[in-house]
């Protein structure tokens, strides 16, 4: 899931400038779970903007903001309002904002900051566990991601800087590699640590990535 947090309403208001007519779009996927773009948050932002003299023409919680064709279809229902509006606010992740912007011929501004791909531990508690690096090594690391959880993103074991099992960068965090070691020990798979992980290539991930499974081989 993509974890987001609301920007300060004041900042959102500023990003609207002198524009008056506004449409707010939510997203019923991740942003709803994060309570940053569900029905309640859309209503909340609407109230705030109206007390600050904005005219919120319409609101809609899209099913999946980042689904281009689906959002395009759903946005057709707002066609009339969209022609008259000045700015669209998207209460989704950074991807949803861009999908909506690709569909509409309007200025689109984000209501959220996109933080990480993460897990909902329980209501209101989220944790980052995957950096979407494109080369998953969880199979060798007892399903604990060192790219994300090790402050140095090391692929070949600990740096040696842990004190009392805690990370040298943040004493509140456990050393990811000691966690990996302990879990491999439980699984009786410590030998997985003995193999040297080859030096990684960053050539694929250093520019925008895309997949096209329809392209003919």
């Amino acid at each position: 899931m993509v974890i987001t947090k609301n920007k300060d309403y004041n900042e959102i208001l500023k990003s609207l400038g002198n524009n008056k007519n506004i449409i707010i779009l939510g997203c019923s996927e991740c942003a709803s779970v994060c309570k940053t773009g569900g029905e309640d948050q859309v209503v909340d932002l609407k109230k705030y903007l109206e007390t600050n003299n904005k005219n919120v023409q319409n609101t809609k919680v899209l099913s999946t903001s980042c689904n281009f064709l689906l959002s395009k279809k759903e946005l057709k229902e707002l066609k009339d309002d969209l022609t008259n509006c000045d700015v669209v606010i998207s209460m989704s992740c950074g991807n949803g904002v861009q999908t909506v912007s690709d569909i509409l011929n309007q200025q689109v501004v984000p209501a959220n900051d996109t933080l990480f791909v993460g897990e909902k531990i329980r209501s209101g508690i989220f944790e980052e566990n995957c950096r979407t690096c494109g080369e998953c090594l969880l199979g060798r690391t007892a399903a604990i991601c060192p790219v994300t959880r090790c402050a140095k993103g090391l692929l070949n074991g600990p740096c040696g800087g842990a004190k009392y099992g805690k990370c040298e960068v943040n004493e509140e965090n456990d050393c990811a590699w000691i966690e990996i070691y302990n879990r491999l020990l439980e699984l009786d798979k410590v030998e997985l640590l003995e193999e040297v992980y080859p030096i990684r290539s960053y050539s694929e991930s250093s520019s925008k990535r895309s997949i096209n499974n329809r392209r003919k081989k």
């Binding site: 090391l154 070949n156 074991g157 740096c159 040696g160 004190k163 410590v190």
Partner: protein, 296 residues
């Protein structure tokens, strides 16, 4: 090319001695070069730290070149914190050009622990990756599989380890990987307990590698307690802290503790040498060596 004195010493089972110096935070190398001049005849190599404690200083390579030009064999310390693979390979080729053979490969402290904590960390290569890189260059190619022009560099590579690390089994796995990637010697974090060295010696016996035990001269009980609390891999036993507390000259007491420890290590033949890290008090290294009977 002159052979590495450190390599020769370790291959001949001589009790090897290295000491660590840091480039200055500034542009004047004279003080540190003066210390190196006094030391060099008594040590097998002088380590030069690479932005020690993730803090801005002159570079390790610059001081290594100054030492090499004076006939003092350095150990170039190189970390993965500030350089990607292009810069690391360039640094290693440059070192080879200046006749610097001894390389110590480290992962490096995180920038947040240093004096420019806002810096973006690199860590593209860790210690194991840097060892692999040096090994690759020695074969006449770079990591991109491009050929180097001859002559190819010759390095004598080492790495670090921490005998007090917990869990030690994990540290031993790391050591084996470093050996596999070309580490010929290890310099350890500071150790203060002979029992730790004994255990470590037994745990690493099968690795057939060279281990230089780290020696940090204590300057005060406060320093010892601080390191126990904050510095990874450091465990100063209480009896040493009491000795320092009772002593009227704490620096001298620290020097004596270090010298006694070195003599015991040498007598009991449980390591291949020592690596002295007199952080900020490099003048004391000579006194330690003298007290340990390693001069003259």
């Amino acid at each position: 090319m002159i052979n590495s004195k450190l390599e020769t010493a370790l291959n001949n089972n001589k009790f090897a001695i290295t000491a660590e110096l840091a480039p200055p935070k500034g542009t004047d190398f004279s003080r540190i070069l003066g210390i190196a001049q006094e030391l060099f005849q008594y040590v097998d190599a002088v380590n030069v730290t690479d932005f020690q404690s993730a803090s801005v200083k002159a570079t390790s390579l610059a001081l290594c070149i100054e030492l090499a030009n004076r006939g003092i064999q350095p150990v170039l310390q190189i970390t993965g914190r500030d350089r990607n693979r292009i810069a690391i390979q360039g640094e290693l080729l440059s070192a080879a050009h200046f006749g610097i053979q001894n390389i110590l490969c480290l992962t490096g402290d995180h920038p947040t622990s240093g004096d420019n904590p806002e810096a973006k960390p690199v860590f593209e290569l860790d210690a194991i990756g840097i060892l692999k890189t040096a090994e690759t260059l020695m074969k006449g190619i770079d990591l991109g599989r491009n050929e180097l022009s001859p002559p190819f560099p010759q390095f004598y590579c080492g790495a670090v380890t921490s005998p007090e690390y917990s869990p030690i089994e994990l540290e031993l796995i790391q050591m084996k990987k470093k050996i596999k990637m070309g580490a010929k010697f290890f310099q350890t974090q500071g150790v203060f307990d002979i029992k730790t060295v004994e255990d470590f010696s037994n745990q690493t016996k099968d690795m057939n590698t060279n281990i230089l035990i780290g020696i940090i001269p204590l300057k005060s009980p406060g320093m010892a307690r601080f390191m126990n609390r904050k510095v990874p891999g450091i465990e100063v036993p209480d009896n040493l802290i009491h000795l320092l507390e009772k002593s009227s000259n704490k620096t001298e007491e620290g020097i004596k503790i270090a010298a006694d420890f070195i003599m015991e290590l040498k007598d009991r033949k449980i390591c291949n040498g020592v690596h002295i890290m007199a952080i900020g008090a490099e003048d004391n290294v000579l006194k330690i060596l003298d007290k340990a009977g390693l001069i003259g």
